[in-house]
């Protein structure tokens, strides 16, 4: 294995992506990602000196519109999709872990 990415880096990237993996998953993922990143590196064979990036292939450029508020009147339906809701609000657990705060 060329070691383009190691286990610690995979864990770091997982943290950025708000994902977590078990040890067994890390064992499987690390060499897989390493191989795929190896495939990415074939791009170094392409001479891109002086070439612009392409980020968008739409034929529309800088389309402007008025910023007008629109009341869809669907808050109840929207809240129906929330995992937990009460009195017109989405419920979430405490942002700060109180048990850690006290420790």
């Amino acid at each position: 294995m060329a070691n383009r990415i190691n286990r610690e880096q995979v864990q770091h990237v997982a943290g950025l992506a708000k994902l977590e993996f078990t040890d067994a998953e890390l064992d499987a993922f690390t060499p897989q990602l390493d191989d795929i990143i190896g495939m990415f590196e074939t791009l170094s064979e392409v001479d891109t000196d002086g070439v612009d990036v392409t980020s968008n292939v739409s034929d529309q450029i800088n389309v402007m519109r008025e910023d007008v508020a629109d009341n869809w009147g669907q808050s109840e339906d929207l809240l129906h999709n929330a995992p937990d809701a009460a009195r017109g609000f989405i419920k979430v657990p405490a942002i700060i872990d109180e048990s850690e705060d006290n420790a």
Partner: protein, 489 residues
Amino acid sequence: MNYFDKDLASLHADLVAKKLSAKELTQATFDNIKATDPQIDAFLNLNEDAALDQAAKIDAQGINADQPLAGIPMGLKDNIVTKGLTTTAASKILANFKPVYDATVAEKLADAQMINVGKTNLDEFAMGGSTENSAFKTTKNAWDQTKVPGGSSGGSAAAVASGQVPVTLGSDTGGSIRQPAAFNGIVGMKPTYGRVSRWGLIAFGSSLDQIGPMTRGVKDNATVLSAIAGHDNHDLTSSTQAVPNFAADLNDATSVKGMRIGLPKEFLAEGVNEDVKAAILAAADTYRKLGATVDEVSLPHNKYGVAAYYIIASSEASSNLQRFDGIRYGYRADDVKNLEDVYVKSRSEGFGEEVKRRIMLGTFSLSAGFYDAYFIKAAKVRTVIINDFKAVLKDHDFIMGPVAPTTAFGIGDEIKDPITMYMNDVLTIPVNLAGLPGLSLPAGFSNNLPVGMQLIGRPFDESTLYKAGYAFEQNTDFHLQVPTLGGQN
């Protein structure tokens, strides 16, 4: 209803003449689905009561001759949101999600009075080429149930190919309409980027995604594209270009006469199966007999498309999929101590393996220290690939080649090997990177499995692809062959 013998025009004529009611047609479609879906597993969710109600209303109003799609049943890939009808993207994280609005394409087909019979299976969030990445079930190829239907629009392709329904919509980010269409022997169009509104398509790679029709024949496909295309204020990348009546031009089976066609040598290179190669060379001869010129051309950077794509599409996906955080909708993990836990555990438990792999690849490619070497490099290679196409299409009306290097592979054969799976899209991905239209249509058989041909055109020139596809179809009989399934045929 036997959809193998009927195209949209003949169904429409029967509906107008009242030889058939929309309700009978819709009921017959559900009968088809119930007879064959235990073998095919194309649908995730049926819309039976609402569809039959809608059909009855259409019958009460009557169908006019100027409503070519009225009363005709269709299915939607389940990453296209439908108001009040569960839409999952084949992910556990959206298992119970009920959208509060309709995608623009769903609205347009409803305006055309098509009847939505249900939602078709896909690889989770459209990430995959076999439909094996669905969190719910694996769809089977209509021709051989031990083979994959392709993906990610595998449910939409198999539903049409097995005669369940005459029309479905798919989405195509790197080949997800064209490859399953090829594997199932049907017609699939990936329109020019911006031709069809993406509003209500659950986003994967926003600079690559397009919705398009999947049908048994070229003319049917053209009819549906005209109905879903056009500018939409909800998607400001959608084009303001006028939408032609694509089907109206399809009446001349020799319309390719005088056209110049490019056949890239890279499309027949190593890795492309001999039978696939033979089918494409035979198709080139068909076009020559019809009066077209077929030249060998080169797309020298085609082989870098897969690497550039997996950086760009994964980067866009890692950003788009941040919204799935267990707060406003979708799956939320139990046993959480704080908000960070909600994010991490909901995402880790809710997403499947391939989706996590793409999020990881994208997050890596965009992360500090790697952004220039990976993401920026890929975005430059994208420009190089676009320039290759421009050079060929400057003096060729369109490009022809295979859709995929092989026919449908076995279920379970490639799912453990991501790079092998990714390479299946080597001939379709560059078309998305360049934003060009690509049409997939039946061009032969290998060991009783369909071979697909791909026609690639200039931006917003779907019309030439349909004409060339129609001419090919009128001079061959591949599209007339149908799979044998229990209860059908």
